[in-house]
């Protein structure tokens, strides 16, 4: 068994590359289907957030070629040249891949240490893949473990006790400009998960008016109802720009939704009243050239996460505690993985010993005159009992081995000593 991970994140790739390799849910489903159809992965899960695009999988082959095949696939799927993409990609296998995911789910690998959103994003990615049938026993176990780690880290360390996220950072920045938000209004473009989180923070600060715009009216209605906002029809969005003090944009669109010319017109129409825009879309929703407009403050996802990163040192003291939890769960997963491997090895060993026993009896029995078939069966049964005892006693001891490292070493030793031809599990 082998777990492979290929991906890129905020540390390995700039936003210009990340936005070209991001997946929508539909694209994630499509990728899982194609990877299975092409025989690259048996199980697939795509985790695509603002800061990362990662493909976790279980390949049919146990070689490391699966990572290269995945890289090629990502390049062709997103029509990005492999030369451009490769420097940004990282590859992890087995223990490292498991550890990476658990650190991601804990918020330890986030641009903003301990951010709260990532656990919801991991949960959502798992739900999408699971419902589509893209995951199997390995990834199901892996991601359930990741969710458990994320919850534990948040509840047992300070890393999660003081939730600071892109959403809260954006709202705090709005307060840097407007002061208290009680008399301000906000417009939310796109009613996705991240928008909901921002709106929740805005409501916590008693924002006076909230407007929601979304291509899907149902979703906009839901968000507006939940946070006592007002829905504005998608077609009215240009005129709606004159209303708010804060705009939160997280629309799924390939081109910027808010172009400079549109914003310039809107700023003039609103008498150059200050406007703070959180562009949380990936690809970006707001034309970056608009940043120089008078009284216009534009922060994209990278800007916000960079700002919040400055608070990182305050949380860094909690890293060792969180890492202990991560390591504990990596150990648990490897134990499970090793137990699965052990069962496979015992079965393979039993099969091999029985085959050798049959060959041995056949060769020796021919040289014993007067051996009846009944006596021969009795001898076979006795030898089988002996083999079973010789096999099961050490297997049980190995099963009960507490030291994971020792256990894995012993399993590996059995495999190499008795089953040298068997493929590495």
């Amino acid at each position: 068994m082998e777990i492979v991970l290929v991906g890129l994140n905020h540390r390995s790739a700039p936003v210009e590359v990340r936005e070209r390799v991001s997946f929508t849910n539909d694209q994630a489903r499509q990728a899982a289907e194609e990877l299975r159809a092409r025989g690259i992965l048996h199980e697939t899960l795509v985790l695509s957030t603002c800061n990362r695009s990662e493909v976790y999988g279980v390949p049919p082959e146990t070689t490391h070629e699966s990572a290269a095949a995945l890289s090629n696939y990502l390049s062709s799927f997103h029509s990005v040249q492999l030369d451009l993409l490769s420097p940004s990609l990282y590859h992890h296998y087995d223990r490292n891949a498991i550890r990476h995911l658990f650190r991601v789910a804990s918020g330890l690998d986030s641009m903003m240490l301990g951010e709260a959103e990532i656990l919801g994003q991991v949960r959502e990615a798992y739900r999408v893949a699971y419902e589509h049938g893209a995951t199997g026993p390995v990834l199901n176990r892996l991601f359930q473990g990741a969710l458990e780690v994320g919850k534990r880290v948040r509840s047992e360390t300070e890393l999660g006790a003081r939730p600071m996220s892109v959403a809260s950072a954006g709202v705090k920045l709005a307060e840097r400009i407007f002061g208290k938000l009680q008399e301000r209004s906000a417009l939310v473009l796109g009613a996705g998960l991240i928008s909901e989180q921002v709106v929740s923070h805005l409501r916590d600060r008693n924002i006076a008016r909230l407007f929601v715009m979304n291509r899907s009216l149902d979703r906009a209605d839901h968000l507006a109802r939940e946070f006592s906002g007002k829905v504005i029809a998608w077609d009215d969005w240009e005129s709606a720009l004159t209303l708010p003090d804060v705009i939160v944009s997280s629309v799924s669109a390939e081109e910027p939704v808010l172009k400079r010319s549109v914003l310039q017109k809107a700023m003039a129409a609103r008498g150059n009243r200050p406007l703070f825009v959180m562009d949380l879309g990936m690809p970006r929703n707001v034309d970056p050239d608009a940043a120089d407009l008078y009284n216009f403050y534009l922060y994209n996802i990278d800007d916000l996460t960079q700002i919040v990163q400055q608070n990182r040192s305050a949380r860094e003291s909690e890293i060792p505690r969180a890492e202990v939890i991560v390591d504990e769960h990596v150990g648990k997963f490897l134990t499970w993985q090793a137990s699965v491997n052990l069962i496979g090895i015992v079965e393979a060993l039993r099969h091999k010993l029985k085959a050798e026993r049959a060959e041995f009896i056949r060769e020796r029995a021919e040289g014993i005159p007067g051996l009846t078939s009944e006596q021969r069966e009795q001898v076979e049964a006795i030898i089988d009992q002996l083999l079973e005892k010789m096999l099961l006693d050490p297997a049980r001891r190995l099963q009960g081995e507490k030291d994971l490292r020792r256990k894995i070493q012993q399993v590996e030793a059995i495999r190499e000593l008795f089953l040298p031809d068997r493929e590495r599990p």
Partner: protein, 270 residues
């Protein structure tokens, strides 16, 4: 200035400055409170220093450049502390105290005035000068607040949001603080100017005793009224209003220096 009170004032202001820095940089709440307490203590000591000086010279503290500067520093600190209490915002202290200290030290180090003093007597005159210097101090404070506004806005535009920016007042509050300060200045200068005319009338029997200072003071009044009007206009609110406020203070400095020293016949140090 009496040395004991001067030293007490200097120590208190410097301590206050250090404490405000501690509050701004490290975010220590107790440090901010200490800054306010030391500033209040400094104000008391500074008041007695001014009083001692006036008694010693048998004249008002604004009789010469030294006294005038010292009074300016005291009123700047007083205006700031009032704004701090009114808006409950301490993080600007670290920016204002250097100016207060500069005026205090400048007053202490300036050479003694050998020129004849104007006939400075009477309550109307005392209030005229005090309110005028208070207005200049308030305008000076609004200039400092506008500079902070522009600096903070630049940092926000450049996405350089460090610890200090998180502790500074919001742009909106800086704007309002600046407007409050200008309002204090405008009221002071308006009343002070009226009292000046009253005093001139009593002294000479003629209210229209022409002095180039009148024109510049009128210009300052119009400039700040214009600022207040524009600062309430959404399109001007923000950087443009702050730039205007700084420009207006340049006129005040011009009035306080060039006009007083070279053109005015009766306004030398206020």
């Amino acid at each position: 200035m009496n040395h004991l009170f001067f030293l007490l004032t200097l120590t208190a202001y410097m301590g206050s400055f250090a404490a405000y820095i501690g509050y701004l940089v490290a975010g220590r709440e107790w440090s901010g409170r200490l800054g306010s307490l030391l500033l209040a203590a400094g104000l008391v000591a500074h008041y007695f220093a001014l009083l001692e000086r006036a008694r010693g010279l048998h004249t008002v503290p604004y009789h010469d450049l030294s006294g005038s500067m010292s009074l300016f520093g005291w009123l700047l600190a007083l205006t700031y502390l009032s704004l701090e209490l009114f808006h409950r915002q301490r993080s600007v202290g670290a920016f204002v105290l250097p100016f207060v200290l500069a005026f205090l030290l400048f007053a202490q180090l300036s050479p003694p005035d050998r020129l004849a003093a104007p006939p400075a007597t009477g309550v109307a005159f005392a209030f005229h000068v005090t309110l005028s210097i208070l207005a200049y101090a308030a305008f000076g404070l609004s200039c400092v607040l506008s500079l902070i506004y522009l600096g903070e806005q630049r940092l926000l535009h450049q996405h350089r949001v460090g610890d200090v920016v998180w502790r500074l007042p919001s742009l909106d509050l800086l704007d309002r603080m600046s407007q409050s300060s200008v309002l204090v200045g405008l009221i002071s200068i308006a009343i002070g100017t009226v009292l000046g005319f009253v005093w001139v009338d009593r002294l000479t029997g003629n209210v229209w005793h022409y002095d180039p200072k009148y024109v510049v003071t009128l210009l300052v009044l119009v400039a700040y009224v214009f600022y207040l009007r524009l600062a309430r206009n959404p399109g001007w609110r923000g950087a443009r209003a702050s730039q205007l406020c700084i420009f207006n203070f340049a006129i005040v400095i011009f009035s306080f220096t060039v006009v007083n020293l070279f053109f005015s016949r009766s306004h030398r140090y206020f």
